[in-house]
C-alpha cells in the first residue's frame, strides 16, 4: 500500500445529522479552529489520530465510520 491512499471522511454528513451544529460548534467541541473543520470536511486535511478520535467521540461513532480509505487504494 503506498502513500497515494486517499482518506475520505463523513464529518460533514455526521455534523448535518446533529440539529443546528455549525462548523464553529464542532470546532469548539473538539478544540480546533473552524478553518480546520472546513479543511477536514473539504478533504484538504487529514487530522491527527487524536483529533480523529475526538471527532468520533463527539458524534458517538467508531472512528472508522468517520474516516475511510478510498476505493482508489494502491497496492504496490
Amino acid at each position: 500500500m503506498d502513500s497515494r491512499n486517499k482518506v475520505t471522511n463523513r464529518v460533514r454528513d455526521f455534523r448535518g445529522q446533529v440539529d443546528g451544529m455549525t462548523q464553529q460548534d464542532l470546532a469548539d467541541r473538539v478544540g480546533v479552529t473552524r478553518q480546520t473543520i472546513i479543511s477536514i470536511e473539504g478533504g484538504r486535511y487529514n487530522p491527527s489520530v487524536a483529533l480523529a478520535l475526538r471527532l468520533a467521540q463527539t458524534f458517538g461513532v467508531p472512528v472508522e465510520n468517520l474516516f475511510q480509505l478510498s476505493e482508489e487504494e494502491h497496492h504496490d
Binding site: 448535518g16 455549525t22 462548523q23 480546533v32 480546520t36 487524536a50 483529533l51
Partner: protein, 260 residues
C-alpha cells in the same frame, strides 16, 4: 447539511500585536530610522519563534501544519534565491563591487537551521545532541592531534609538552562528556551546553572580532559553532521538562506520552 451561522470572530491577541509591530516597524523605518526595521522583524518572526520554543500556544494542528509547510516553502525559495544571487555576483563578480559574504551568511543560517531541525525531528533531542556533540568532539580531536603532531617538540620543555597535551584533552573531553550526559541527564546537559555557548560567545567572539577576520567571517564561524550548541541545549531543556516517561536510556525502546 447545516449552514454556517457563526459570526465574525475577533483576531487573537497575538495576531493583533504581531500585525501592530509590523505596521509600526515599517513606519519607524520609513520616517524615523532605518535600523528600526527590526521592530517589524519582531512582529513578523517573533510569534513563530516563541511558538517553536514552546512559549506561546494558540495554533491548532492544522494551523501548525500550514505554518510548517509555508516555512519549508520559504526555506526552499529563499535558499534558491540566495544561491542564485551569490552565484551571479561571484560569477560576474569583481566589477559589481558587491560583497556576497552577508548573503552567504544568511544561506549558511538557512541551511544549518534546516539540517538541525530535520535531525531533531528524525532522532529526537537526546540522540541529536549526542551525535552533534560526538561529531564536534571528533573534529576537535582530529584538529588537536594534527596540531600536536605538527609541533616541533624538541624545542620545548617536557613541562610545556605536558601542558599542551593537557590543554588538548581539556578541549576535546567536554564534548564527549556532554554527549554522554545528553542521553542520561538532558536538563543538566542542556544547561551546560547553553553555558558553553555563552562562554564561547563572551570569550571567543570578541577575540575573533578584534582579529584580522572580517565581521561576516566571524558571524559565519559563530553560526556554525553556536547554532548546534544552543539548538541542542534548548532542545534538551525542553526534553527534560516534558520527560514524563520513565526510561532514561536513549538507545532502548521507550514508552512516550503523546500530546495532541
Amino acid at each position: 447539511m447545516t449552514e454556517e451561522t457563526a459570526g465574525y470572530r475577533f483576531p487573537p491577541v497575538t495576531a493583533l500585536v504581531a500585525s501592530g509591530l509590523v505596521a509600526v516597524g515599517v513606519l519607524l523605518f520609513m520616517f524615523v530610522h532605518e535600523g528600526l526595521l527590526v521592530v517589524a522583524g519582531f512582529g513578523a518572526f517573533g510569534p513563530g519563534v516563541l511558538r517553536e520554543l514552546g512559549w506561546l500556544g494558540g495554533l491548532d494542528e492544522f494551523q501548525r501544519q500550514a505554518a510548517h509547510r509555508a516555512g519549508y516553502h520559504a526555506y526552499l525559495v529563499g535558499g534558491l534565491a540566495a544561491v542564485l544571487v551569490v552565484s551571479a555576483l561571484r560569477g560576474f563578480g569583481p566589477d559589481t563591487g558587491i560583497s556576497t559574504d552577508w548573503i552567504t551568511l544568511i544561506l549558511v543560517v538557512l541551511w544549518i537551521t534546516w539540517l538541525f531541525s530535520t535531525l531533531l525531528t528524525y532522532w529526537g533531542a537526546r540522540m541529536t545532541a549526542k551525535r552533534v556533540l560526538l561529531t564536534f568532539g571528533s573534529f576537535w580531536a582530529v584538529f588537536v592531534i594534527a596540531m600536536l603532531v605538527s609541533e616541533q617538540w624538541e624545542e620545548v620543555s617536557p613541562g610545556q609538552t605536558a601542558l599542551a597535551i593537557l590543554w588538548a584533552v581539556l578541549l576535546v573531553v567536554p564534548f564527549f562528556v556532554l554527549a554522554w550526559l545528553a542521553g542520561r541527564r538532558p536538563r543538566m546537559a542542556g544547561l551546560l551546553l547553553l553555558g558553553v555557548a555563552a562562554v564561547v560567545s563572551v570569550v571567543l567572539f570578541p577575540t575573533w572580532a578584534g582579529g584580522s577576520l572580517d565581521w561576516s567571517s566571524v558571524l559565519l564561524t559563530a553560526t556554525l559553532l553556536l547554532v548546534p550548541l544552543v539548538g541542542s541545549g534548548i532542545a534538551l531543556l525542553r526534553e527534560g521538562a516534558r520527560a514524563t516517561f520513565t526510561c532514561p536510556r536513549p538507545d532502548s525502546p521507550r514508552s512516550t506520552t503523546l500530546s495532541s
